[in-house]
Amino acid sequence: MTALLEVSGISVTFDGFRAINNLSFSIDEGELRAIIGPNGAGKTTFMDIVTGKTKPDAGTVTFGERSISLLGLNEARIARAGVGRKFQRPTVFEDQTVEANLILALKANRSPWRVLFWSPKAADMARVQELATEVGLGDQLQRKSGELSHGQKQWLEIAMLLAQEPRLLLVDEPAAGMTPAEREQTTTLLVSLAKTRAVVVVEHDMEFVRRLNCRVTVLHEGSVLAEGSLDHVTRDPQVISVYLGRG
């Protein structure tokens, strides 16, 4: 199997503070991967780099079988290349309906001219309905998304990510602020998502990661501390000292 995302030797400095320090690792096609690490370990910054929001000072990030470099591309180009991102807070367009939000995300040509003359085909609307139903919003299409509850907004955002059909999905702390039942649902969803695409989940809750049952990368002070199964990394003395030392 070839790597879908290959990050090697990246470093980022914010005002003299090294948030990411010579970080390297890779994600395979269709892999589910959890990234854990204490607060401030650089997990969100890593996502910022892959999605083009932050430019690293050094290193390379390549994507896809032709290994295109993501560093020269802007956020929109990276998204079109097939990288989707879910933020920590739910970010949906609150002023617009659930349907409009999904149509925005639906995979289609993004150029202004093509969008201007876009009109909904039966297949598009069926797909919107299907996605909404999948996340339990099937009968809420005409509601303003600002009216939805926090959990529903999270789900809507997940449906929007599915509509984008990314090859790699980066999910930042999906379970934050969720009830235990919603967490359960979220794990199930992430596992099923990973069947058709690569998913990277950032989380610092060990219990949640255990349920994902996947390979785990531990970040600490901007670089990889350990990698392997959850049991493997939790036995690692360095990981224990980082977590317990702070805990």
Partner: protein, 411 residues
């Protein structure tokens, strides 16, 4: 899936077009040209100019109300359009006069003589007798009309490209647009700018070749043209903001970073909107200045573009009819108060002079609208349709603080 017709999806567009048609007909039938003259020719011109201001307000609403880009420079594009059409009007009209004058000498005038005569006539006031190079196309209406769109359009394209590419947003962008319009105004104030310095261009109400046609008629023709442009502009923009494109534009206003992560080239959208609205503003200017009769660099003063924003804010941004109502309401009131026809109100030792106090009143109403009625005049229509502002009572619908309450969600 069956798709409802455009008007079924946008009932306000149909209502707007109907109102505009009735208004146009009523004014025509009351004008001096086609009726008993209940409306004076000068008031027909005021109304025609107001329609042009409504059109530029539509453009402002698209760029600010929908896309969230507070441009404070769009009246520069409006005035540039006016200058370009003004050059042809002044040139062609002067040409007629010069040809007639020279013909009285007996011999037919040579093209050089005519050219020289025109240059002296137009540029005598700034102490020059050469036609500047920028007047090279002024003899031709089609060429000058192309310039009337090309010059503002290319300026907007260039300015927008520089600004949006470096991701200038918010108040910095507003300041930059103010600087742009100020710089242009200062440039045009110079006599050697080639556009007659602070004299500007005048006599624009006299259409070349129509010297014998009364202004009664000309004014109503321009009124019709302005109404047509406003109607078409309204339909085009309603179509633009109603579909997926409008959805992207509003999304950019609300969270542009998120729109980028969906894969939309946000900068290209902004540039497209900025240029499109500049073109609409220029078109409005082309129709406005022949009715105003005169244009000078003061029209590009930064304050002009700020007024434009005030109209849209008072009318209610993010809804097209709001922009039109705001522009019509405020600019008509403004011409009433500044006409000097309203009697002063004696207040003991002092007296309230409307001409002096109008700006203060306008400023206060702007502050009042911003604070107490952010939806502007357009908000009144929501009252009718019972789209209330959130009235926070009852149990929350969701677990978080931000979600709407059950009553308000149903409205």
């Amino acid at each position: 899936m069956t798709r409802r017709s455009f008007f079924a999806r946008n009932p306000s567009a149909l209502i707007f077009i109907a109102c505009l048609a009735v208004f146009t007909l009523a004014v025509t039938l009351m004008s001096e040209a086609y009726g008993p003259g209940l409306i004076s020719t000068s008031f027909v011109k005021t109304l025609g100019k107001t329609l042009c201001l409504c059109l530029v307000a539509l453009a402002m609403d698209l760029i600010w109300g929908y896309a969230g880009i507070l441009s404070l420079g769009h009246m520069a594009f409006f005035a540039l359009g006016g200058y370009m059409i003004g050059m042809w009007l002044m040139y062609a009209r002067t040409e007629e006069i010069v040809v007639t004058a020279l013909a009285q000498g007996g011999l037919p005038a040579t093209p050089e003589e005519i050219q020289q005569g025109i240059a002296t006539q137009i540029f005598g006031v700034v102490g020059s007798s050469d036609l500047p190079a920028i007047w090279s196309f002024a003899h031709s209406l089609p060429l000058q009309l192309i310039l009337a769109l090309a010059v503002p359009g290319l300026l907007a394209l260039g300015f927008g490209w520089l600004a949006f590419r470096s991701r200038v947003t918010g108040v910095y962008l507003s300041i930059l647009t103010q600087a742009m319009t100020l710089a242009l105004a200062l440039y045009l104030f110079q006599n050697d700018s080639g556009l007659r310095g602070n004299n500007g261009l005048s006599g624009l109400q006299n259409l070349p070749g129509l010297g014998d046609t009364a202004q009664d008629l000309v004014s109503i023709w321009f009124f019709w043209a302005s109404a047509l442009a406003l109607g078409l502009g309204y339909l085009t923009l309603s179509w633009l903001v109603s579909g997926k494109f409008g959805s992207v534009v509003r999304a950019i206003r609300d969270d542009e970073a998120r729109v980028r992560f969906l894969g939309y080239p946000v900068e290209v959208y902004k540039l497209f909107l900025f240029t499109l609205t500049a073109l609409i503003a220029a078109l409005a200017g082309v129709l406005y200045y022949p009715q105003a009769g005169i244009i000078n660099p003061a029209e590009l003063a930064p304050i002009a573009s700020i007024y434009l924003a005030v109209w849209v804010a008072i009318g209610g941004r993010g809804r097209l009819y709001g922009a039109v109502l705001g522009a019509a309401f405020v600019s008509l009131l403004s011409s009433l108060f500044t006409s000097g026809r309203l009697p002063d109100i004696p207040l003991g030792p002092a007296s309230l002079n409307w001409v002096d106090w109008w700006l203060v009143i306008l400023g206060l109403s702007f502050v009042a609208v911003t604070l107490f009625a952010p939806k502007g005049i357009g908000g009144l229509f929501d009252r009718f349709q019972h789209i209330g502002a959130p009235d926070r009572k009852g149990a929350q619908l969701g677990p978080d603080d931000g979600s709407l309450q059950e009553q308000e969600a149903q409205k």
